[in-house]
């Protein structure tokens, strides 16, 4: 790894970058030419049902290529950081949930030994007495959730970090997962980048010490923690990856304050809107009844809600408006109680029990407005409803444990989300290309698949909830950097088509293109070769092949991630719906068919299709009954080559399934689940 970038290394990298740009441009030109020909001249009108999906998948891949080229276009190879800011105070956070105590102990010891003045804290979300004892023994800080979290949403790792932020006071925070053992010089090497007051984040690579040279599970990500992060860095979009990163407290806090303001205003506004509609409806239905006290109360509340909303719209601080509104509500309920309403009170209690009490206040959104407006409420129930809503017309964000939540938690990838928000508020990030902590990767296929699924789900959640292409405040390069990562996760759908098309041709003669002829080859081969050359150049000296294999081979994971994330964001379904259970331990000697059956099925189909294709070609008369065109030698040749490529790529998953760690005891814990 080219860590301590000397001047010579940088010079070389400038030359290398030039070559990379030229090859990238050529590759994209060849790709564009190929796709123009594909769309314009090659589609087989007889079989548009496969011709169109295939060309769409190829277009997807070309766009991916463009985004990749943009990413690496401004690859920033930084040298060592400047001298650290003098007297910088640092808190080192070790986040843990259920990892083995000896693992936490090793990391905590190493953290304590970091040679820059700092305080070390174990953030134990499992609140385990043995971890507390460990912290006492090592004389490091120990933090668990405060009482405020009781009965509130815990927000997983983001919640754990936020909880700790309010109990510590360092200017900078080094975040370490429980398995990431830091080098003593980690802070001295990284802190200097904060010299620039606009830098909010410095990320160093994640590298795993328990992975053998061949890396069967594709744990190391040398392309990402290298050219890709350096490329994003060039656009001031280096990603925060959850661990081995230093953050500036001020930046996080500012984000938290801004988020508090946004959420409070939204909640209050919505609560007032719901109240107003509900009360207006009730007032109408009360018009002919004789319940004067109630009628008066409802009218007064409705006017107060309307006035409050108008005041907020006019820019008055929510603190004042909510204070006044609460006073009106208090007075009104006093009036109601004063008039003898004992019987009515009893009704109210019965009603609120019947309808599940406070649920309304928690789900105040557009949908709730509609829902509430549609229901037929009795006037008294309406007043009761409003009094629960009133609690939401406040500035204390009472549904959350902490009013201010600096680390974002809308998605399960709090790191990416927080980073994107930091960028959108004008903060800078830095990628520091030097391994300064060594961690432990998952050691079996099941755990690895689960981890990849959650990363992909989180990324998709962020894309669907805060689209980087439209999020206010991002620069164009940052938009594209985030979008590139999200776009790459859509690859699952393209993969299925790339796997299915040769099977279709070899077994049925159905051709997505007019001819597998020399025209096809003369457009395709330059594009393919230049693309491979680009990868080789960008990944020079690092192993990128594993990553390429898994990009295709994990297609079921990517598809599942997208489907579950969309269901989660749009329909509120939990992400864990039908997530594969971790298998390690119980079934470690068995081949995990259930985890990778789609890949195995495709591999079998690809192999069978090749045999079929060759038989159809060579056995006279065999092809007479095929659905499509008669097979040609060139067609079979092209498709067989295609199949072989697919099989080589997919074979990684079989290797991963067969992989067994020498020892039995599991080392890594599962991450905390919430959604």
């Amino acid at each position: 790894m080219e860590s301590r970038g000397s001047e010579a290394a940088r010079q070389m990298s400038a030359g290398r970058l030039m070559v990379i740009r030229i090859v990238a441009a050529l590759s994209l030109a060849a790709g564009t030419a190929y796709l123009v020909w594909r769309w314009g001249w090659s589609l087989n009108p007889e079989y548009l049902w496969i011709a169109v999906p295939l060309v769409v998948a190829e277009t997807y891949a070309l766009i991916d290529g463009f985004l990749f080229a943009i990413t690496i276009w401004r690859m920033k190879v930084r040298g060592p950081a400047p001298a650290p800011p003098e007297g910088a105070t640092v808190d080192v956070f070790i986040t843990t949930y259920n990892e083995p105590v000896d693992l936490v102990a090793r990391t905590a010891q190493a953290a304590k030994a970091i040679d820059w003045s700092h305080k070390t804290w174990i953030l134990d979300d499992g609140a385990r007495p043995e971890v507390e004892a460990l912290a006492r023994e090592l004389e490091v800080g120990y933090i668990t959730r405060s009482a405020a979290w009781q009965g509130k949403s815990r927000h997983a790792k983001a919640g754990n970090l936020n909880n700790a932020l309010f109990q510590t006071d360092g200017e900078f925070l080094l975040i370490l997962d429980a398995d990431q053992i830091p080098e003593p010089e980690i802070l001295r090497r990284m802190l200097g980048w904060f010299d620039d007051p606009e830098v909010a984040l410095v990320q160093s690579p994640q590298w795993f010490s328990n992975v053998e040279e061949s890396d069967p599970l594709g744990s190391q990500a040398p392309l990402f923690y290298g050219p890709v992060q350096q490329g994003k860095d060039g656009w001031n979009a280096a990603f925060f990856c959850g661990s081995n990163a230093v953050l500036r407290r001020e930046a996080l806090m500012q984000l938290g304050i801004i988020g508090y303001v946004r959420e409070t205003e939204r909640t209050v506004r919505n609560a007032l809107k719901v109240s107003q509609q509900l009360l207006a409806k009730t007032e109408k239905s009360l018009a002919r009844s004789g319940e004067h006290t109630v009628k008066r109360a409802v009218g007064r509340l409705r006017r107060a809600a309307a006035k409050s909303l108008a005041r907020i719209d006019a820019g008055e601080p929510v603190q004042l408006v909510s204070w006044d509104f609460q006073r009106v509500v208090d007075d009104t309920s006093r009036d109601l109680v004063a008039s003898d309403l004992a019987a009515i009170q009893a009704d109210l209690i019965a009603l609120s029990e019947l309808r599940g009490g406070e649920q309304v206040a928690e789900a105040i959104d557009e949908e709730a407005v509609r829902e509430l407006a549609q229901l037929e409420w009795s006037p008294l129930a309406a007043v009761e409803r409003v009094s629960t809503l009133v609690r939401a017309v406040d500035v204390d964000r009472s549904s959350e444990a902490l009013p201010v939540m600096p680390v974002s938690s809308l998605s399960v990838t709090e790191d990416m989300e927080t980073c994107m928000l930091l960028h959108s508020h004008g903060w800078k990030s830095v990628y520091h290309h030097e391994i300064l902590a060594k961690g432990l990767a998952p050691e079996d296929l099941g755990t690895m698949l689960k981890q990849r699924l959650r990363w992909a789900q989180g990324t998709m959640q962020v894309l669907l909830t805060r689209n980087p292409l439209t999020l206010k405040g991002l620069q164009i390069g940052q938009r594209l950097s985030y979008f590139a990562t999200m776009w790459s996760y859509l690859t699952g759908f393209a993969a299925i088509i790339f796997l299915a098309a040769p099977i279709l041709y070899l077994t049925t003669g159905v051709m997505p293109v007019l001819a597998w002829g020399t025209t096809f080859l003369s457009f395709f081969i330059p594009y393919f070769l230049l693309n491979q050359l680009l990868f080789a150049l960008v990944g020079y000296g690092v192993k990128t092949w594993r990553g390429q294999q898994y990009t295709l081979a994990l297609f079921p994971v990517w598809i599942k991630a997208l489907v579950t994330a969309a269901n989660n964001v749009w329909f509120g379904r939990p992400l864990d719906f039908a997530v594969t259970e971790k298998r390690r331990g119980t079934g470690s000697s068995r081949f995990p068919f259930q985890l990778i059956w789609p890949q195995l099925a495709f591999m079998a189909a690809l192999a069978l299709a090749t045999v079929t294709g060759l038989s159809l070609l060579f056995i006279p008369g065999a092809a007479d009954n095929t659905l499509g065109e008669p097979l040609t030698p060139l067609g079979v040749g092209v498709n067989t080559a295609w199949v072989i490529y697919d099989l080589i790529v997919l074979s990684v998953i079989v290797r991963a399934a067969l992989y067994r760690v020498p020892e039995v005891e599991p080392i890594t814990g599962t991450e905390e689940k919430e959604h």
């Binding site: 006071d169 001020e250 806090m253 304050i257 303001v261 008055e316 601080p317 406040d394 964000r397 009472s398």
Partner: protein, 110 residues
């Protein structure tokens, strides 16, 4: 951190002196929580002597506002200087927290 503490009608007035930043924020929050717990949840924080505020300082104010509101009271800020007003504006916190010009203004209506 130094505080000056006085009462004004039913309200407690707290005047921190110096920087309200990541170092001093926990003390301010603790002080206000203490006042709330001792039964005076109506608090005015007089910021006239605060020379500098960062986001941690703002976080302490929001935390205090939450404690005060939950105890049926309120936490109001007064006499903020230029720098404090600037950070309130930068974070949009002035949309929520009303910066009153004087302690008198802040304690009006109590």
């Amino acid at each position: 951190m130094e505080f000056e503490e006085r009462t004004r009608g039913t309200a407690s007035v707290l005047a921190p002196r110096g920087k309200l930043n990541l170092v001093t924020a926990p003390a301010v929050k603790a002080k206000i929580d203490e006042l709330v717990a001792s039964g005076s949840p109506r608090i005015v924080v007089d910021l006239s002597e605060v020379t500098f505020m960062d986001s941690s300082g703002l976080g302490a104010l929001i935390g205090s506002l939450k404690s005060a509101r939950q105890a049926g009271g309120d936490m109001r800020i007064a006499a903020a200087g230029e720098q404090v007003r600037a950070v309130l504006k930068l974070t949009n916190l002035d949309r929520i927290l009303a910066p009153h010009d004087t302690v008198e203004d802040a304690s009006r209506g109590w």
